[in-house]
Structure formats: C-alpha cells, structure tokens
Amino acid sequence: MESQIKAIHQQLVSKQITCTALVQEKLDLLKQNTHNTVNSLLEESALAAAAKVDAKIAKGEEIGLLEGIPFGIKDVYMVQGTYTTASSDLLKNYKSAYTATAIQKLLDAGAIPLVKENCDSFGHGSSSENTIFGAVKNAVDANLVGGGSSGGSAVNVAKDYTVFSIGGDTGGSIRQPAGYNNIYGLKPTYGRISRYGIMAYASSTDCVGPLAKSIEDIRIVLNVMSGKDGKDQTTYASEAIGEESIATIDGVKTVGYFKNFIESDAIDTTVKADFLAAVEKIKEKGIEVKELDFFKSDTLVSTYYTLAMAETASNLSRLDGTNYGNRIEDKNLKETYAVTRSENFSEETKRRVVGGNQVLSQGFSDAIYLKGLALRDQIAENFEKDFQEVDIILSPVTPAAPPVIGDSLKDPLAMYLSDEYTVGFSLGQLPTLTVPQGTVTGLQITAAKRNEEQVLKFANFLKDTL
C-alpha cells in the first residue's frame, strides 16, 4: 500500500475532502467501537483542530504533511487533559496533566489525535484481554485476539479507523499486534524516541513506535517523533531518514536468521514452511542468507520477564492512591495502599508486580536478577557479533496464528512463551519492524542499533519480493 498520509494530504490540499469531514468520518467509525479498541474519544478537540486546518486551506495557506491527519494513541501516553487509564481500574478516572514528548511533536506537526486506544493494562499482556474495556477483537477475524499490548492501536489502523497509531513496545507490544492484524509496526532503537510521558512498564526496554499500513507512513511518523529530549536522558540525536535513501536495497548483502527459532517445537508447521519459503525467495534475488546460532527461547523469555517484572514492580510502586488513582480508604496508610492496589490491579498485573518483588528481594536478587542482567549483556553481545556478519536478521513475529479470545488468560506461562521471537530484540535494544508478509503473522526485520534506515530499506525490498 502507498502512503495514506500523502494521499490524504493531497486530497486536503486539492480540496477534494475537508478535514472536518475526514475527522468526523473516522470518529463515527470509532464511536461504534465494534472491536473494543476505544477507551476514550477526543471528539471535541479533534473537530476543533480539523476546523482550524480547513480554515487554513480555505485562506490558501500551506499545510504541513501531517497537518489534519487523524491518528490514535495507545492509552498509556500522557496527553494533557485527556483520560489516561492504562486500561486499568486504578486509573480509570485519571487525567493527564501534561503531554508526552513524542505526542507533542505530532501535535506540533498538526496531526489530530482522535482516540485513546485499548491495550493490556499497564502493557501487561500479549493479547489485549487484560483490560477493563473488554478484549480487543482481531481486525481480520473478530473471534481472535487483537494481540498486545498495543492491540487497540493495531486494530484501529488495520480497520482504517485511524491513519496511523502510536503504540508502545517493551517486549513485542507493537510488533506482535501489527503481525496479528497484518499491518506494519516499528519498535525503534531504544532511545531514538523520547519515553517522557509514556506510562513506564520496564524502563530499560520501553520504546515508542508507530503502527501504519505503509512503510512510507512509518518513515514519516518516525522522523517526526525521533530526537534527543532533555526530559529523557537515554535519548540520542538522529538524522531524518529520506524517502530516497530507503528506495533501493544498496548495502544489504547478507541476511541472517536464527536456526533455533525455526527448529523450535513451538513453531506452527505452516509458519515454519512459509518462513523458509520467504528465505528462498530472498536467496533467489542474489542475497546471501546465513543461519545463525542464538539463545534458547526459554532463556530469552525468562531473561526478559525477569528484568521486566523487576522494573514494573518498581515503576508501579508509585500507584498507591495517595496523589491520584482510585483510592480505597482503610484504617491506616499501609492498609489504604494495600487495599487500593489489591482491588484495582488485574490478576496479571499483580502476578508481575509480585514476581518483580520476588526477583528484587534478598536472596533472590543475586541468583536471579543479577544473573538476568548478565544474560542480557550476553544476548546484546551476541547481536553485536551477528551484525558483523549480516546486515539484517529476519525472523517470524510469532510461532503461530493469533489465539481465540479467552484462551491466553487461562495459561500465563504459554502467553509469556509466545513472545519468544520478539523479546530478544527488545533486550538488544535493536530497531525491529513487523511487515505484513511472509507468514500468517508477518516477518520481523532487525538491523544493528540506530540503523532504522536499513530496516525500512529491506522492508521495501520484501514488499516487492514476497
């Protein structure tokens, strides 16, 4: 698919459509909430912004490429004055006091937010069923999960309710739902986009990223959101990626894939066959393909969840109902904290907070937490070596097709293990894009740190090849 942003921009400028009509059409679709993607609508502010864009066009003033483009925001981002619930009971009436840097940059470029989107509560899940707003339904088959945790964002894009959406990816939460709904979803290099104003899950792997229907729209939105931010000191300065620079495959000569991902017992036979068929097509184009050794899936998943739980236990300790949130009063402060958290956290959030506190407690921290950190270092070192041999690593997004709604919550361990192909790249802090080709849930394209350009270049190549 070609860039929807550019197509809409052209329609606005040539007065084929008005921005108000465009925004109203999308709002009408979202209002029906057929797939449980909507936590709250930003109707009033969206229509007011659209009217301003129309006034500018009527006066013959130039508008920017993103000006008037309707988009969605995962409900973990602060947008001043909007409800920001993290799909949780605890924050169901919480309003953002300020706006996240990444979102502010989109607002400054004139994009119009329409909706705060359903997701797993605090990002805790891989199916968008762990939410107080009802399980997100898959865009392709409404009996299946929408994926998670950015499920509402992926489904809104896939259904054309938003032109693009902004998700958050800690261990696969953009890439997996993008794969489940056959769209593009990018987890950039850690630090490329500021995390200021995203509700923290696991701070060392939390990433902000776009979901869209075309590579070009991913590029446009990525460029706008990227950059150093004094409010997130892990950010770095990056160059904008030009459209021309990703048009050809120059510089990609060797592609690798992890042998053990494909030989895993968990992989569905069709996913495996489709992946290997994609590899053959790449070879036919004259690109060398290498098999690579990697860590076992259970090591990757366990390392990721050990560290993510430790970090989320720490990050969520602030949610005690004192300054904000659904406080439930009890006989004293400690009891108020405990009752507030017990009554307002979901089972999955409690499981992760408790797991994190186990990991960080005396006696456990050396045996598990520090060992987990050491394993992460080794995983990251492994990637460094791999990228001396290959330009791109290609992998499936998930071992199988999306599960039926209701199945994932029954078996948390199975849900954690289903993240086996996404979490490694999070631990390595690498740029990874899901493309809707190759297997039933797409393919992941990964390059070395800070090399999003290479990722997008290869995505363009795959679009023409598969």
Partner: protein
C-alpha cells in the same frame, strides 16, 4: 532490619503469593550459566555523559497542569487535599 518481608507486604497486595508460572521462568535463569555473572552493562550503555547533562532549572507548571493535578487528587474536603491517616506503628 532482619525482619523477613513476604511478597504480599513488599508488593502492598493483600494475600499475594508467588505464581507457579512465574517461578518456572525464574528456574530457567537459576539454571542458566552466563559466562560472566557480574553484569558490566558494557553493551547497552544508555546513561547520558556527564558532559552532556541538562541544565538544572526549575520550571513552573502551567495553571492548567496544576488544576489537573488537583482534580486527580482522590479526596478533597473544604479546599484541602485529604491524605490517609499516617502510619501509627
């Protein structure tokens, strides 16, 4: 500080117990053999350089920001923001 704190106390979650599913993940780490047990974090370096620290400045919040922060406060009485009874033990 020798008092052993259970996970329900550490987590401020009533009746919380370790999960069997999560323990299985921890067992994998327990049985893993990293080449070096001391993380030097020499690959994922994200900390800002001391030469590149941001200015230490006080920025006054906008009136709207202050108003929303007050609105978010769970309990208010006669213009005062009410907190829970302090710890008595």
């Amino acid at each position: 500080m020798s008092k052993i704190m259970t996970v329900d106390i550490l987590s401020s979650i009533k009746g919380a117990k370790p999960s069997e599913s999560v323990n299985q993940l921890f067992d994998v780490i327990r049985n893993a053999h990293p080449t070096n047990n001391n993380s030097l974090n020499n690959v994922n370096i994200n900390a800002v350089s001391v030469d590149d620290l941001r200015e230490d400045e006080v920025v006054k919040s906008s009136d709207l920001e202050r108003q929303i922060i007050k609105e978010n406060f769970p309990n208010e009485k006669n213009g005062y923001l009410v907190v829970s009874k302090v710890i008595e033990d």
